[in-house]
């Protein structure tokens, strides 16, 4: 039999049902991988007892003939989801030691579906970052290394870098992620795994530590498209406690999977052909077009004229919303309190927030405060909200001519830790291909499609119209079936 931890979510689910192994054996195998992978720093908290308790319940349910959709499947939980009684930090000093007294909607849905929790996964602090270098609990190290014989520690992407590293290293078969400007898709691309950000509103934000509420959206990360469909079915759904939750039935995405794209049109946005795109990214994009043609689709060129304004729009709206959301960390109700001798209440606020937030979080709060301040609000924030409307309109126009869009996920393969730390703008540019779909609230996924010259994974991104996750998953599947991506990081940790 194959190594248990090499199995996908679908294989675990089906093998467990067939009696090939017990849920306890599976949980123990993953717990052991987690415990042996400290060098990756993918987990902030490990919860082997949670995984075992869910497994024992799954074994009982199997004996009783009352199996659930994810019975026997242990997963990782990004440490942005509140988990009752288990420390939830958003990778910040501010929330170190915070143990929620409630469970997030998404995590509760997964536990109700029978899944178990292996631990809370590291991330960029408050999900602000593209490399996992802003975590208070240290960098996550990608399991991947370049094929140049060097041992440079590479970024697993961000902000869901603990999730991506853990899946790529077989510490969990799937994990939750959240995506504000690319935080599921870019780390998936960097580590050779698959991840989908669904339509804004599919997954409730209730109990997810807020970054930028009009952009934040949870989604699954896993090793293949089918696993993403399975996970998403068990994460999505209406929740009256989130005002932007979509009151719609959850489609049966797994049952609807088909890599046959006959009659479908795939749009190639010409504005994504940026100057200086590395040759291997361009070649990968061309191969992606050929694969989708082979699956029966027609390739059409489309235009998204406001693409170049997406990143600046994002870097006004996201910090503005963050400055408002993060005002809650005041040292009064939860989290850190820093009370210097003789300090009054105002001093306490300022000292607490100075001590509790990392440099990138402070930078974004201060930018957000500036663009919302009197005299600048219209010039920056209102203008950005108008440009955002134009970006969304570009997509609407494009989807009159095609069913999905195909683009690279990121402008490069994974970079080395420290390489882009000095210049915030250089880091922000990593999200050039993922941010537009976030601004428009559209479903988008990254699938692994090849290796760079340095032997590192590269991803292709599929973007679909609002609510059509099925079209995104199906085009992703068509690529997956043809890319034959089987490369994995050689174990060194």
């Amino acid at each position: 039999m194959a190594v248990l931890t090499d199995l996908t979510v679908a294989q675990i689910r089906d093998g467990f049902r067939a009696g090939d192994f017990s849920a306890r054996e599976m949980a123990e195998a993953f717990n052991a991988n987690v415990a042996a992978a400290k060098a990756l720093n993918a987990f902030i908290v490990e919860t082997p007892e949670h995984a075992l308790a869910a497994a024992d319940q799954a074994d009982k349910d199997r004996a009783a003939g009352s199996l659930k959709p994810l019975s026997g499947v242990p997963i990782g939980m990004k440490d942005l989801f509140c988990t009752q009684g288990v420390q939830t930090t958003a990778a910040s000093h501010m929330l170190e030691g915070f143990k929620p007294t409630y469970e997030s909607f998404v995590s509760q849905k997964l536990w109700d579906a029978g899944a178990g929790m292996l631990g809370k996964l590291n991330l960029d602090q408050f999900a602000m970052g593209s490399s996992n270098e802003t975590s208070y609990f240290g960098n996550v190290i990608s399991p991947w290394r370049r094929n140049d014989g060097g041992n440079a520690a590479l970024a697993p992407g961000g902000s869901s870098g603990g999730s991506s590293a853990a899946i790529a290293a077989r510490l969990c078969p799937a994990a939750t992620g959240t995506d504000t400007g690319g935080s599921i898709r870019q780390p998936a691309a960097f580590t050779g795994i698959t991840g989908i950000k669904p339509t804004y509103g599919r997954c409730s934000r209730w109990g997810v530590v807020a970054f930028a509420s009009s952009l934040d959206q949870a989604g699954p990360m896993a090793r293949d498209v089918r696993d993403c469909a399975i996970m998403l079915e068990n994460m999505a759904g209406f929740d009256p406690r989130d005002a932007t939750s979509l009151d719609l039935p959850v489609p049966q995405w797994e049952a609807g999977l088909s890599g046959d794209l006959k009659g479908k049109k795939v749009g190639i946005p010409k504005e994504y052909r940026v100057d200086g795109m590395p040759a291997d990214i361009e070649a990968l994009w061309n191969r992606g077009m050929a694969w989708l043609k082979d699956a029966g689709a027609e390739i059409v060129e489309v235009s998204l004229p406001h693409t170049r304004y997406a990143l600046p729009t994002y870097y006004i709206i996201a910090p503005a919303e963050a400055s408002s959301n993060l005002a809650r960390y005041d040292g009064v109700r939860y989290g850190l309190r820093d009370l210097p001798d003789g300090a009054n209440l105002q001093d306490m606020y300022a000292a607490t927030r100075a001590a509790g937030f990392g440099p990138e979080v402070k930078r974004r709060i201060i930018i957000g405060t500036y663009v919302l301040s009197a005299g600048y609000y219209d010039a920056y924030f209102t203008q950005a909200c108008k440009v955002r409307a134009l970006i969304a309109r570009d997509f609407e126009e494009a989807f009159k001519r095609c069913d999905v869009l195909l683009t690279p996920t990121a402008p490069s393969a994974a970079f080395a830790l420290g390489e882009k730390q000095a210049d915030p703008l250089a880091m922000y540019l990593n999200d050039v291909f993922t941010v537009p779909a976030s601004l428009a609230g559209l479903p988008a996924m990254s699938v692994p499609a090849g290796l760079s010259g340095e032997g590192l994974p590269l991803g292709l991104q599929i973007i679909g119209p609002a609510l059509d996750e099925q079209a995104v998953l199906n085009a992703g599947l068509a690529i997956e079936e043809r890319a034959g991506f089987t490369a994995r990081a050689e174990k060194w940790w």
Partner: protein
């Protein structure tokens, strides 16, 4: 397309006094060196986002809903509450069933 197109419009730039004022509004204590380091960083980012000024937005309404969605109404009834201990469970300082803070009025 150039990823780092410069804004053609003249830049509104921030100085040390403005950075300190904004940090004060954000209730974040910043030291002198930290504030000085933030000045060029913020100017770099602000100069970059100012390229939005060149976009023609005449007649465009600012986006208010990402996915068109009607706001729901619910019955005006109590659906939550009686969880004082849970609410206070993570408070840095809770006394007699309340959040405690430093003295506000002398």
């Amino acid at each position: 397309m150039d990823w780092r197109a410069d804004a053609s419009a003249p830049s509104m730039s921030v100085d040390l006094t403005t950075v300190k004022k904004i940090a004060g509004l954000a209730r974040i204590a910043v030291g002198e060196a930290e504030a000085e380091a933030l000045v060029p960083e913020l100017n770099g980012i602000l100069h970059w986002v100012e390229q939005l000024g060149e976009v023609d937005v005449v007649g465009v309404e600012p986006m208010t809903a990402v996915i068109p969605n009607t706001l729901r109404l619910r019955d005006d009834v109590v659906t939550d509450g009686n969880v004082r201990d849970k609410v206070l469970a993570n408070a840095p300082q809770a006394e007699h069933g309340f959040f405690a803070v430093p003295k506000v009025i002398e």
